[in-house]
């Protein structure tokens, strides 16, 4: 019994270690965001601001076009999420229900895409979008994000489709419902929660994305939030810490909120995927 108890104690100690490691950078970001300049300049920084202030947030909005950037990010992320789900759902249905060569090839592509070579794809993409006059446009970025979000969207959606029993569809067919009617009135409603979760995941991926946005968006008024955040770092890498922290904190909030909402579904989907694949 003794060893059992000490084992438990060491487990809690380890858990505490993880909690500290995982939480402290984030807590430090929040703390820095609310500190007045005087405390930021102090040689002995404190965990909790003595004089919490919102001045950093105001200054952050003054220094960089954060609102425009957030709007660009929102358009890119919502556009990518909606389009990705609209075109992925039918394909996921085919992949889940019909064991054709194409479905197999698509599954293989989903696996390979996890290792997708951005280094090799970004230059041709840049050239193609330039020829289409879609450089420096959020529309061009959305196109890239859609394709980028597709593999994981397909993966999640195939899992959700498989979870809908075929018996329900067959029963509807026996009752005389056509293929389309069955899909629309039986399958789609059952899939809806999965589709929403997939869309939200695509939203977060696009909201957080940096590399493609950096390459494809040239002028500040077109840039998304992650790209604009790097402007706070300045040329020498010496930054105004307060506004930098404030802006970074704000940029994280939407994805944190969305992630909190769908956390169970994403981890659930990933669990299912990891176990099945």
């Amino acid at each position: 019994m003794r060893t059992r108890k000490s084992a438990r104690a060491s487990q809690y100690l380890a858990l505490l270690g993880y909690l500290v490691f995982l939480a402290f950078p984030f807590l430090w970001l929040i703390s820095t965001a609310f500190k007045p300049p005087r405390e930021l300049g102090s040689l002995h920084p404190t965990w909790i601001p003595k004089d919490p202030t919102l001045a950093n947030f105001r200054q952050a909005f003054d220094e960089q076009p954060l609102l425009d950037a957030a709007l660009n990010s929102l358009i890119a992320a919502v556009g990518a999420a909606v389009i990705a789900v609209l075109i992925a759902t039918p394909m996921a249905y085919v992949m889940a229900r019909h064991r054709t060569r194409l479905a197999k090839a698509a599954t293989g592509w989903v696996v390979v895409s996890q290792a997708f070579p951005f280094a090799l794809v970004i230059i041709p993409l840049f050239l193609v979008l330039k020829n289409l006059r879609l450089i420096n446009s959020v529309a061009g970025l959305i196109m890239v994000y859609v394709v980028w979000a597709l593999p994981f969207a397909l993966w999640m959606l195939v899992g959700y489709v498989r979870a809908v029993p075929t018996e329900l569809e067959e029963a509807a067919a026996v009752d005389g419902a056509g293929k389309v009617r069955t899909l629309v009135s039986i399958t789609a409603p059952l899939l809806a929660p999965g589709i929403v979760a997939t869309a939200l995941f695509a939203f977060i991926s696009a909201w957080n994305e940096f590399f493609f946005a950096l390459v494809l968006l040239k002028t500040p008024e077109k840039q998304t939030l992650p790209v604009v955040l790097t402007h706070f770092l300045g040329a020498e890498g010496v930054a105004d810490l307060g506004p930098l922290a404030a802006a970074a904190f704000l940029a994280t909030l939407p994805s944190l909120v969305v992630f909190a909402v769908i956390q169970k579904r994403i981890t659930g989907g990933m669990l299912a995927g990891a176990v099945k694949s």
Partner: protein, 308 residues
């Protein structure tokens, strides 16, 4: 693991496999297939072709085929091979500790501990954050004067601390720590999935037989976990080798190129110096390396299948 769905209910269309797509299903597939071909498979082939040309940005003469000249130049480009070496160091340096830490966390989260939910939620945060923010956040932590790391070191009486990200010796280890932190959630979740897939009765039976924790792990947990562990390790390695944003924000490849990952190098070559063909050749070399790793993984997976 694989092929478990074959012949399972929901398989639908009999033997299948003969036709490309079920009749009438084309209209369901095309909306996704066309963008995939145009914006992903197409650029990939275009990129490989570019590697054999002298394509540059803003040049007036037409682009010419130059055969393997880019690759020959690349062979003698010590800066590229430096970055390649750093990329491998970084990928190994992140992947292994990340895996071990995630394994520990997954094992803890699988136990019936209090505050487990807190760790679970916290463990997800790095996943939800934009990489740029993760980089900025750790710059605040590492800040030589106002950062919490040096302050903690001073408080503990361990010295004055240092400028971690600008030190020639400390920069790479410092960014590796951030890489480990940022990638832990995916690995933890995947391993947790593997753990929850292990039948609980087996554990109990082993415990009844008097097997200690380590033996139970070795004989019951690990064999069941191995396929997932192998998959997530291969994937993390590839993700890490390809990473960009985190290090771009933390050090931008500095000091003196000590953290210049291959992606940062290729990005500069392409979009600062406009050497599209040359950068595409770098991309080809990176893809070749990744393919080897994927192949190794597949071999390992097949062999794992034989063991089971």
């Amino acid at each position: 693991m694989k092929r478990s769905a074959r012949g399972a209910p929901g398989g639908g269309d009999g033997p299948g496999g003969g036709r490309l797509v079920d009749h009438g299903a084309w209209f369901l597939v095309l909306p996704a297939l066309i963008p995939i071909l145009v914006l992903s498979v197409g650029p990939l082939l275009y990129g490989i072709a570019l590697a054999f040309t002298d394509s540059q940005s803003g040049r007036t003469e037409p682009t010419q085929w130059i055969g393997t000249l880019n690759f020959q130049d690349l062979l003698h480009d010590t800066l590229f091979w430096d970055s390649f070496r750093i990329g491998l160091l970084w990928a190994v340096g992140v992947t292994i500790p990340q895996f071990l830490l995630a394994l520990g966390l997954a094992l803890l989260l699988n136990e019936n501990l209090r505050f487990r939910w807190l760790a679970r939620s916290l463990a997800i945060i790095p996943w939800a954050m934009p990489e740029v923010v993760v980089g900025i956040m750790w710059r605040l932590v590492y800040n030589p004067d106002a950062g919490i790391l040096n302050e903690t070191i001073r408080d503990l009486g361990l010295g004055e601390g240092r400028d971690w990200l600008s030190g020639l010796a400390t920069a790479l280890p410092a960014v590796i720590v951030v890489g480990v932190w940022a990638g832990m959630p995916q690995t933890t979740v995947a391993l947790l999935a593997g753990l929850q897939n292990t039948p609980h009765e087996l554990h109990e039976a082993a415990a009844m037989d008097g097997a200690g924790a380590w033996r139970r792990f070795r004989t019951v947990t690990w064999p069941a976990l191995k396929p997932v562990a192998l998959a997530i390790t291969a994937l993390s390695f590839i993700w890490n080798f390809n990473s960009f944003a985190l290090v771009y924000v933390l050090t931008n490849g500095g000091p003196g190129g000590r953290t210049r990952l291959p992606m940062l190098f290729a990005y500069e070559e392409a979009f600062r110096y406009g050497q599209f063909g040359y950068a595409a050749a770098m991309g080809c070399v990176m893809v070749a390396v990744i393919s080897v790793i994927l192949a190794l993984y597949l071999v390992g997976r097949l062999r794992g299948g034989e063991d089971a």
